[in-house]
């Protein structure tokens, strides 16, 4: 288990039993009569991840009439939707490694990855299907479609340099923030929290999600290959312009790097040189500042919620997101 995940887990020790229950439910939910599908799904589960979505569901549900059984159904569903999208993303990005492990597409092939992703998605709906609340399903369906729309737009924008801050923010909203917002919203809704509380938790999830993705995009540049489990700078090499790059894309010294990255002709020494340039350009600090602004907004949403272990954990998670190292 990574150091960062251990740090994150220490923030919600009061809910550790619930998180382990969900972990077991996740494993149970991807059991399959097909050995390949089972192996592919468990392979993905074992790759870990921070489980931030399930944690948000549990913490948000504490603000209503908490039931672990209901929260677990929502949490498992959201994490499985996230996992299914990762399996398909690896096909799209032709990625062979994720979190230091071979991807499903690399271990088997693209088609197995497509079927495994679709299988996991079906299990996500099986999990949440027993919650008979129209709003829960409407919100989740809308969220899934928006996430997908974001990915489609990302492909459309791939290797296009004429992007601005608004385009970027729209993209990360769909890519990350909406699912975290929905994790909080659905967690609270499944526990019948009052509508004002649901709204505040949703906004907390949204702002935290924006900050989370900005930090993720920063770490893609500032972390080592070993920490990332993939080459640093992969976003740019895959044609995606992230916030730090937006700040320097007009610099004449940087443009040759961008062109080489986009054409796929970049050699290792150039990649290292490009990473050094970005790290020293001041773009990382500017991006970090934007992330901090989002985190401040997230914390503001929590102010009027009742104090307790859950609120404390949500505050600490926001702080963690701002400071995480990989």
């Amino acid at each position: 288990m990574g150091l960062e995940k251990i740090k994150l887990m220490s923030l919600y020790t009061d809910f550790r039993k619930d998180v382990s229950y969900i972990e077991k439910e996740l494993e149970r939910s991807v059991q399959s009569s097909s050995p390949i599908v089972r192996q592919a799904s468990l392979h993905l589960l074992k790759a870990g991840g921070k489980r931030i979505r399930p944690i948000f569901v549990i913490l948000a549900a504490q603000f209503g009439h908490y039931s672990l059984e209901n929260a677990s159904k929502v949490a498992v569903s959201l994490e499985l939707i996230h996992m299914a999208s990762l399996v398909h993303d690896d096909v799209i990005d032709d990625s062979n490694m994720r979190r230091g492990l071979e991807t499903v597409k690399a271990k088997w092939n693209n088609r197995v990855a497509m079927y495994a992703g679709d299988f996991i998605f079906s299990r996500a709906l099986t999990s949440i299907g027993s919650i008979e609340k129209e709003a829960v399903h409407r919100i989740l369906a809308e969220t899934m479609l928006e996430i997908c729309k974001g990915e489609i737009i990302q492909i459309d924008f791939q290797r296009q340099t004429n992007q601005n801050l608004r385009d970027y923010l729209q993209r990360i909203k769909r890519k990350t923030a909406l699912l975290l917002a929905s994790s909080c919203e659905l967690g609270a809704l499944s526990a019948d929290a009052d509508s004002e509380t649901v709204r505040k938790l949703k906004r907390y999830g949204y702002f935290t999600g924006m900050a989370f993705q900005i930090v993720d995009d920063i770490l893609d540049i500032t972390s080592t290959d070993a920490e990332l489990g993939k080459p640093a700078g992969s976003d740019l090499l895959n044609g995606h312009i992230t916030l730090p790059i937006l700040y320097i894309k007009e610099n004449v010294e940087f443009q040759p790097y961008m062109e080489r990255a986009f054409t796929g002709d970049m050699v290792e020494s150039e990649r290292q040189s490009m990473l050094r340039y970005i790290r020293q350009s001041g773009a990382i600090e500017k991006a970090q500042h934007v992330s901090d602004l989002y985190l401040a907004k997230a914390l503001k949403e929590l102010e009027s919620l009742p104090n307790g272990k859950s609120k404390k954990a949500l505050v600490q998670i926001a702080d963690f997101i701002g400071q995480r190292k990989y």
């Binding site: 399959s32 009569s33 097909s34 390949i36 599908v37 999208s85 398909h88 096909v91 799209i92 032709d94 088997w108 092939n109 693209n110 088609r111 197995v112 497509m114 079927y115 495994a116 992703g117 679709d118 299988f119 998605f121 079906s122 299990r123 996500a124 709906l125 099986t126 299907g129 027993s130 008979e132 129209e134 399903h137 409407r138 989740l140 369906a141 809308e142 899934m144 479609l145 997908c148 729309k149 990915e151 489609i152 737009i153 492909i155 459309d156 791939q158």
Partner: protein, 243 residues
Amino acid sequence: MDTKGFTDQVDNYIQNLRSAIYQPIVERDAGHAPIDRQKAFLLLLPLLNGEQWTDEMHSAALAIGAIHMAFDIHDQIDISDASSKEQQLMVLAGDHFSGIHYKLLASIPNFHLIRSLSTAIGKINESKTTLLQAPPDSLKDRLQMIGEVESGCILEFYQTFDFTRYIAIVEIAFPLLWLIQSKQNDLCNMKFPHLAPNTSDTEEWIELLRDNLHSRLQNSFYLHKPLVDELLSLTEQGVSKLI
């Protein structure tokens, strides 16, 4: 209802499905996703036979059409290289269609169908993986699995809306249609082309399944004659006036 009536109903359904799944970037760069008319025809059998067809059934049928489109487009992802923009968009188009299927079911809302279809979708993907990576040895088992893959969601629809008497027809029709495509050597358009059997096995099984279907249709007193004729035409040649 006659052949023209069937065609109009299927056209109308396909038009509604196209409008439900529309995604401008995907349409622009990856083109129209194909809609399987034969599958639509078999899904709509109760409607074409004059059964009462509610708005809820219409939405659920569109949801099933959307998930069929998701399956079909994901089946077209290249096994080793999906790095072109068109292939990338096809991956995402399939995910978008899946999302539309869920949105349609959530909008009814039919929680039972959300659960039963998700179970069916899971099984279908397990079977597709098996057919791709470790197919059963016997043609009989392969045909059964292909039938389950192709008809799984339609069967859930029939069961949910009490159209169970149509189940046996589609259970036979799908493997039969697959064999007919195989016989016609239509490898580009058929599912699981790597499993296409040799000619003598194909003929033998086509005969067997056709006899089975004919006797089933003869005993289906509730089916209107024009619909029986249409089904016979479809399963004789793999084509019909409708398709």
